[in-house]
């Protein structure tokens, strides 16, 4: 299966810059409960470069959301260091915006006002806010629904609003925490294609957490395979496939099979106590 990766030629020539945008060094996070301690993230060391599309892949409970929270600054490591743009991460900030699995929107605001919120927080003047919001509503195809309220939207539309709201503050990295996991299959497929387009257009860096192997194969430049208990990165798989990728591309299907084998190997190792 490795031969597959080698024979594919990448259409994306992205020379890696010297300094990584994001760098994790020996990052560990434990959770203490009454009964026992869980190591959600153990000794994770990884670099992410500007413009990369990274998928963090693993079963539920492997610590991938914790990892994302640590990068977002919503949580803090017990050991190790998260550095972003050369400085240690101390808390959340609009340069690292999260798109959550559940639609974390404000029901009292309409679509437009939800997208606008990050800009208001930043103190962007009104006229400029309008321009930016228009641009990102167009990008996620929600301009027609700008006056709608959250409870009037479908699940897929809510996630588009979240995406537009995150993009509107022009973060240097977009952190996506299983954003499509709760959607129906058709909507998920559509959004997977759209996020590729958006990524190509705005050239953002994306870290995308998922438990869906196919999703990782479609989206990622690199797949970080995580295994649980303790949560650690087992493999760092480059994906040199061309874009845009579709669900039924043979190369995507083959790659998904390869990654799935990795996951299974990880699980058996873990169960055998070698993990």
């Amino acid at each position: 299966m490795d031969s597959l990766l080698i024979t594919q030629t990448s259409t994306l020539e992205r020379p890696a810059p010297a300094a990584p945008l994001l760098s994790l060094r020996g990052v560990t996070r434990r959770f203490r409960t009454n009964r026992h301690d869980t190591t959600a993230v153990q000794d994770v060391t990884v670099d992410v470069h500007e413009g990369e599309f990274i998928c963090v892949l693993g079963p539920s409970g492997c610590g991938k959301s914790t990892l994302l929270n640590l990068i977002a600054g919503l949580d803090h490591p017990d050991a190790g260091e998260v550095r972003f743009a050369g400085a240690p991460v101390r808390g959340p900030g609009a340069d690292r915006v999260v798109v959550f699995q559940e639609p974390a929107l404000y029901p009292w605001l309409n679509v437009r006002a939800n997208v606008e919120l990050g800009l208001r927080i930043r103190g962007v003047p009104r006229r400029e806010r309008q321009e930016v919001v228009d641009r990102y509503l167009d990008l996620v195809h929600l301009r027609r629904f700008e006056r709608a309220y959250v409870h009037e939207l479908s699940g897929g539309m809510k996630q588009r609003v979240q995406l537009a709201r995150a993009l509107a503050v022009e973060p240097r990295v977009l952190l996506m925490d299983e954003p499509f996991a709760a959607l129906d299959a058709q909507t998920r497929d559509d959004l997977q294609e759209e996020i590729q387009e958006i990524w190509a257009r705005i050239g953002a860096t994306i870290i995308f957490v998922t438990h869906n192997v196919r999703e990782a194969a479609i989206l990622a430049d690199r797949v970080l395979v995580m295994t649980p208990s303790p949560g650690r990165i087992q493999r760092d798989i480059p994906v040199p496939l061309g874009r845009p990728r579709r669900h039924d591309d043979h190369a995507v299907v083959d790659l998904a099979a390869t990654i799935r084998e990795e996951l299974i190997r990880g699980r058996t190792n873990w169960e055998a106590g070698y993990g």
């Binding site: 977002a72 600054g73 919503l74 808390g91 959340p92 900030g93 609009a94 690292r96 915006v97 999260v98 959550f100 559940e102 974390a104 929107l105 404000y106 029901p107 009292w108 605001l109 919120l117 990050g118 208001r120 927080i121 930043r122 309220y149 959250v150 409870h151 709201r165 995150a166 503050v169 952190l175």
Partner: protein, 256 residues
């Protein structure tokens, strides 16, 4: 259809009630000074309207109610914001709020009279005490009801602590607040009536008391009806629709 039937049934019920009253009056079941005719109650109402006493009383009462309630709204919301946001404040001030909530607010009247004297401030204080704890509790619950996810979403967009309160906590607490305000208004109204009956002049409660002093049962009943009507009007025309609108807008329920 069903709605029409319900309205007709309701009208029939009240017509029957009025008929029964009239019947009891005609039968002289009780002497007229205990049970006057429905018509004489209407006459008493007309009389208080004509001599201007009613309007004056409603105005004085509503001014007290509005002032006391507005103060309770400001202070109660402030208290609820603090106890809802700061844990140690909840563990200290929060217990006081919960404790004082079970104190009937008219029991503040003697204290208020000693503090302020027999005047407007005392009665406004009692009105304020009627609703402040209900409002503080609903504000506190409202702050707590804001989902952690909504807080985090604002934090990752770069919100400071104050911006979090302004953009997320304050609007997020409104459904709970709307309920608390409605309740608080009713509590304040009760305290105010009790206070006015006890000593204050120029209010609806005072007019009620005057009716008693003059042994004027029609006036007593007429003023009681007015007190009920004013209370219901605000509940049904102001607070009910406000709460319904908030709940609908916030996606919590269909509009009323």
């Amino acid at each position: 259809m069903a709605r029409g039937v319900r309205v007709v049934r309701l009208l029939l019920f009240y017509a029957a009630l009025a008929g029964l009253w009239q019947l009891l009056y005609r039968a002289e079941f009780w002497p007229p000074y205990l049970l006057p005719a429905p018509g004489s109650v209407l006459e008493a109402l007309q009389r208080t309207i004509d001599n201007g006493l009613l309007l004056q009383a409603v105005e004085a009462t509503l001014r007290r109610q509005a002032t006391g309630f507005a103060l309770a709204f400001l202070l109660g919301t402030g208290i609820g914001l603090v106890t809802g946001t700061v844990r140690w404040a909840d563990e200290t001030l929060g217990t006081l709020v919960l404790g004082l909530q079970s104190l009937p607010s008219i029991t503040w009247l003697p204290l208020a009279v000693l503090w302020f004297g027999l005047n407007e401030q005392a009665i406004i204080f009692v009105t304020l005490m009627g609703s402040i704890f209900a409002i503080a509790t609903s504000a506190h619950d409202g702050v707590r009801s804001v989902p952690p996810l909504q807080r985090r979403a604002a934090q990752v967009l770069g919100a400071s602590r104050w911006q979090l309160i302004r953009y997320v906590i304050l609007p997020g607490m409104l459904p709970s607040m709307a309920q608390g305000l409605r309740l608080g208004w009713a509590f304040s109204w009760r305290s105010l009536m009790a206070g006015e009956i006890l000593y204050v002049s120029h209010g609806l409660g005072h007019l009620l008391q005057v009716g008693r002093d003059l042994n004027d049962m029609p006036q007593v009943l007429a003023i009681m009806a007015v007190i009920l009507a004013v209370g219901l009007t605000f509940d049904r025309l102001v607070f009910g629709p406000f709460e319904g609108w908030i709940r609908a807008r916030w996606g919590l329920a269909e509009g009323r």
